[in-house]
Amino acid sequence: MRLPVLLVALVAVATCTETFVGHQVLRVTPKSDEELQKVQELQALEHLQLDFWLAPRGLGFPIDIRVPFPSLQAVKAHLEASGVSYSIMIEDVQALVDEEQMEMLRSSRQLPLDTNTFNYQAYHTLDEIYNFMDMLVAENPNLVSKLEIGRSTEDRPLYVLKFSTGGTNRPAIWIDTGIHSREWVTQASGVWFAKKIVQDHANNEGVASILETMDIFLEIVTNPDGFAFTHSKNRLWRKTRSKHSGSICVGVDPNRNWDAGFGDAGASNNPCTETYHGPYPNSEPEVKSIVDFVKNHGNIKAFISIHSYSQLLLYPYGYTDTPVPNQQELHEVSAKAVAALSSLYGTKYKYGSIITTIYRASGATIDWTYNQGIKYSFTFELRDTGRYGFLLPAKQIIPTAEETWLALKVIMEHARDNMY
């Protein structure tokens, strides 16, 4: 006889998931002794399982009652029959609980103490990402440094992380994320990449061997003005936030502002459109700063610019049908990179030149970098293929970053092994 009772008790304890689906919180403010008494009558009815958030105190003081779903009708009928007016303060307690839990998860990333407690599986604000960078540098001063390569239109600093084990002006790899601000999985992946590079180096695996002879430059928030705007006003903002005279519309598409086929078909000259190329090449400080950096450095061997979404790996050109001289090589590297990416979670990518694979685009980043002599210029379009698009659930951040990293390593290793 005792064993079943014990089991039941254990089960009850184990499945401690209390749910408040359909529960409502009613508020009664008694205006007379009769009304007060009617509510106190309810208190006595234990089977209703009422939970008084604000117990009866006296006339004029509000009484808040959480009413479980099965008791709702009875309670409301009781109140209405007695002419006691009530209001519904909370329509569905569970919905509120769920929302709060989500908020807590989100705010549990309040100023992490270090890059080990940073939440990589969540989207972050600009301040949080800039704070992350400083922590990473502080934790790894011999490997990581932060460079300011310019300021945005709204005067935000443009930061690049440099990963280097020494040497002077070593051949380098450039990776940028977040040039289009609404592509949130890219900045989030950039943060993950930064940590990954540090970890690989510490464990002497992965890219540690690449770092023996090459430097890696990583610009995580390439368009900070746009990124701030996606947090404050418009989640789907793509462009910069520049205002050029003669138009009320804001912003230039930073991936049409480069000096490669600038202004040709594949970009728009209308400032109010998403692919507006800007008044002239490099008009955007976000673009100019990279151009200056690349030219001054002079030794970048691979350049990878990361976007979302569509699951594509692209190489130049976008502004012309003419294939690049080493098209065959880039196609083979792409095949290998995509295979590596797929090997992790089965995510399928297509690859090819920009113009054949996605659309004609002029003034694109990697067309310019390629024409500067950076033979290994690639653009990624990360997850997904349209199901969530720009609004990719945060739980996909790490898997996306992990698989993309495998593809990046293929490209980096190829550059290292085919030095030019």
Binding site: A95, R235, T275, K348, T357, Y359, L391, P393, A394
Partner: protein, 217 residues
Amino acid sequence: ELPPSHFPARRAAAVAVGYLRYLRGGPGRRLELRALRRARRQDIDDVGHKYYLELELEDVLDKGRTVNCTAEVLYHLGSKSTAPDVQVTVQGELRSTEEADKEFYNRIRSLEKELVAENIPDSHGNVPPALEPIHLLAWAASGYVIWQNSTENTQFHLAQVKHVKQVKRSDEDLQFDYVLLLHEMVSQEVIPWELTVLWHPQSGARVSWDRRQPGHA
């Protein structure tokens, strides 16, 4: 014959999938394009371009079971105001959504206050489970808009349900007034689109009214 990695075939496939979502989608069914197996294009003089496609679809809520499809998409010559003609043949049966449909129908009908929601998914990609059927219904309805407004130079996806409001009706249908944000890939524009969707478990989804939201660039 077209390489599936090139965009013309993919754009036609997106139209076919949109059309199919409208016809067969609903609050209980999620159809995704798993793979584009083959594509062929035929240029028909004085008529237009016809695409022949072999697609592999995924019925996500049926444990990701895949279903093969063939589709024909005919884009009419020089016409921006005529929708492409689409024909889709699904090989085999899609799992019945009768139970989920009934449950959704009863739940919505029993709401005291008309359902109102916005930003589905939210900025972080979250969709509250209770709103997933509303989200799926939006996908089905967006299939209509996408089919009706596609050309060889566009590729639409539903970016977000900006706003949805249920409108109680005296007949048996459920009615939802949506404002959807459609992302057009080639221009990269995000276009707000208003539409009214009627739905009933037995008759499926019907877009009874739609328009591109005025006042947008």
